[in-house]
Amino acid sequence: MDLKDKLLSSFLAFENNVDLENPVHEIRSEAIKNFEEKGFPSKKEEAWKYTSLNSLQKVDFSIFPKQENTLEYKDIKKYFLHEIDTYKIVFVDGVYSSYLSETTHDGVDVCLMSSAFTKPMFRQVIDVYFNQVASKDESLTTLNTAFCKEGAYIYIPKNKMPKKPIQILHLATGNEAALMLQPRNLVVVEENAEVQIIERHQSLTENEVFTNSVTEIFAAKDANVDYYKVQNDANTASLVDNTYISQKDNSVVRVHTFSFGGKLIRNNLNFYQNGERIDSTLKGVTILGEKQHVDHHTLVHHAQPNCESHQDYKGIFGEKSTGVFNGKIIVDKIAQKTNAFQQNNNILISDKATINTKPQLEIFADDVKCSHGCTIGQLDDEALFYLRSRGIPKKEATALMMYAFANNVLESVRIPEVKTRINKIIANKLGVRVGFEL
């Protein structure tokens, strides 16, 4: 049985364990119909031309993990940003771990989708926001919607800001030979409220994991959201991350995606600007080796005047790794005075590495500033000679240059400890220790 059939038959079993009277279940039922009709995307579709899910569909994934696993904090501490105090929402094999988590209802709600779906106190927010910005026809998003049950629920009321950043950590223990996870997150940030979120997926063994995640983020008027995605997973873990963001007047949302590992990563990052003077920032650093594959598909839809978007993705590809960047910008006819910037720079450090990069601009307004640029190159020989002439060996000089290349993406990171952590991962990834902490 292939994965699609298995998922379809599992949906019936899934229905035995959820409240069929809950209005959310109508949404699930609609979603599974869409997935049944469309199935997994194939390489024939333009948006999936360079990323194949074929091999994943042949794996016999467990859809529902059998047991809750207990992990010791000390064994997984390194996957947390433990240098600072944070709220934590931790899932082990898709199941919430209260032992490892620290949630709150103190002025803000940092808790679980399973609660939000079932408890009356969250009903109103679910009714207003759930599945409102996520696609209702993209097949993987609807697959996630069909099975939505658990994930992070974050609600920040007007003028509020949580006392500390929030970490969302998904751990896979390897208790199943192959595990499929479908977390569903909802982040609602009301007027003039603020939140900082760090998200990470981590498989703890070599057993195969396939995560199909959907996150919806709503930023109301004057809201401020920082979202950091740390993708540094095992080489047997694959991730399709579908993130949908809806922004209102004057809101600022920044999403940083750090992709350093995993077997296959597909990031579908979608920004919808539904107001004026909105600022959307999309930044990414991708450093790959071996046969890793990362595909960034971004969309910024400018639907109102006087808004900005800033995209800056940097990639370094070694060995047989492959990268894709597809950046789509839509500027509606009424969205005058839009400033949309997009930059994608790549360095290939191996003859066998590949990058496919494609800007896609659809501009219907006439008074806009849109710029885009993509480069694919090798390291600058003159710069390398400069560093080596100062006595820095070739390997270290190369690492310093790659670090410098990726560095400006980190400038907009607003949590210093996140920046330090990412720098450390980059240094490790490049396999060198220079004389100071990068």
Binding site: D380, E382, A383, R388, S389, G391, P393
Partner: protein, 250 residues
């Protein structure tokens, strides 16, 4: 100290150096002058080990040891320093961290421990004062957004920190105003001593008023066509390069 014999070098089959002979002894300052395109910067890059150039013929040695097979970093470890005409920008790496890395890599190559932090700090303070460099400047990203003068001053700061045996200054005077020129020259002169040597590559006599050379060589079409003392530089300033070119063709 430095001995160059019949050096021929080309890049992508274009011959640039066509038989250079040059001997530089410890304690000496040599100026290499010449018109644009005569091969001055190539000579500097070839001594420092730039791999894009092919050495077709001839030898370069430092204290009797052949350099041709050595990587640029190995030459740096042996005490060769090249001050670049166009220093490269390295965003995200501060001047301080860069120089620390450079110094400790050279020490490692010589089998020494890292320089203790307090000693490094003292050295940085001393040398930055010598070059009248502001403390804030040291925590900026290397060469990023530096003015032409700041870049050159930073090159000489690095030179002062690394205390090379042989320093090659490639057009260090270009883009400097008169005050910066005085500061840079002062920094260079502090390095002069009986154990090290300096090669100053310049287009103009101006820098040589401050860094007075023992010998002046004129490079034309990949060869040294005339050598003399500092008076030769003055003569070139007055008469230009045309008479040299004519003399060379005759």
């Amino acid at each position: 100290m430095l001995e160059i014999k019949n050096l021929h070098a080309s890049i992508e089959d274009k011959k640039i150096l066509k038989g250079i002979n040059l001997e530089v002894n410890a304690g000496e300052v040599h100026a290499i002058m010449g018109p644009n395109g005569s091969g001055k910067s190539t000579l500097a890059s070839v001594i420092a080990g730039k791999e894009e150039f092919d050495i077709k013929k001839g030898t370069i040695s430092l204290d009797g040891e052949d350099l041709e097979e050595l990587a640029p970093e190995e030459r740096a470890h042996k005490g060769i320093f090249l001050s670049f005409q166009y220093p490269v920008e390295i965003p995200g790496v501060t001047v301080t961290n860069f120089i620390k890395t450079a110094i400790n890599e050279s020490r490692k190559a010589r089998g020494l421990e890292d320089m203790p932090a307090n000693q490094m700090l003292k050295l940085i303070r001393e040398k930055s004062e010598l070059l009248e460099i502001d403390r804030k400047f040291l925590s900026r990203s290397l060469n990023e957004g530096f003015s032409g003068g700041e870049k050159k001053r930073n090159e000489i700061f690095q030179m002062a920190m690394m205390e090379p045996k042989l320093a090659i200054l490639d057009e260090t005077d270009s883009g400097l105003d008169i005050d910066a020129l005085r500061i840079v020259a002062n920094g260079v002169n502090k390095l002069r001593g009986k154990d090290n040597a300096i090669i100053v590559i310049t287009h103009y006599q101006r820098l040589l008023d401050y860094i007075v050379p023992d010998f002046v060589h004129v490079l034309h079409d990949g060869k040294i066509v005339k050598s003399g003392t500092k008076e030769l530089a003055l003569e070139l300033e007055e008469k230009g390069y045309d008479w040299i070119k004519q003399e060379a063709t005759v």
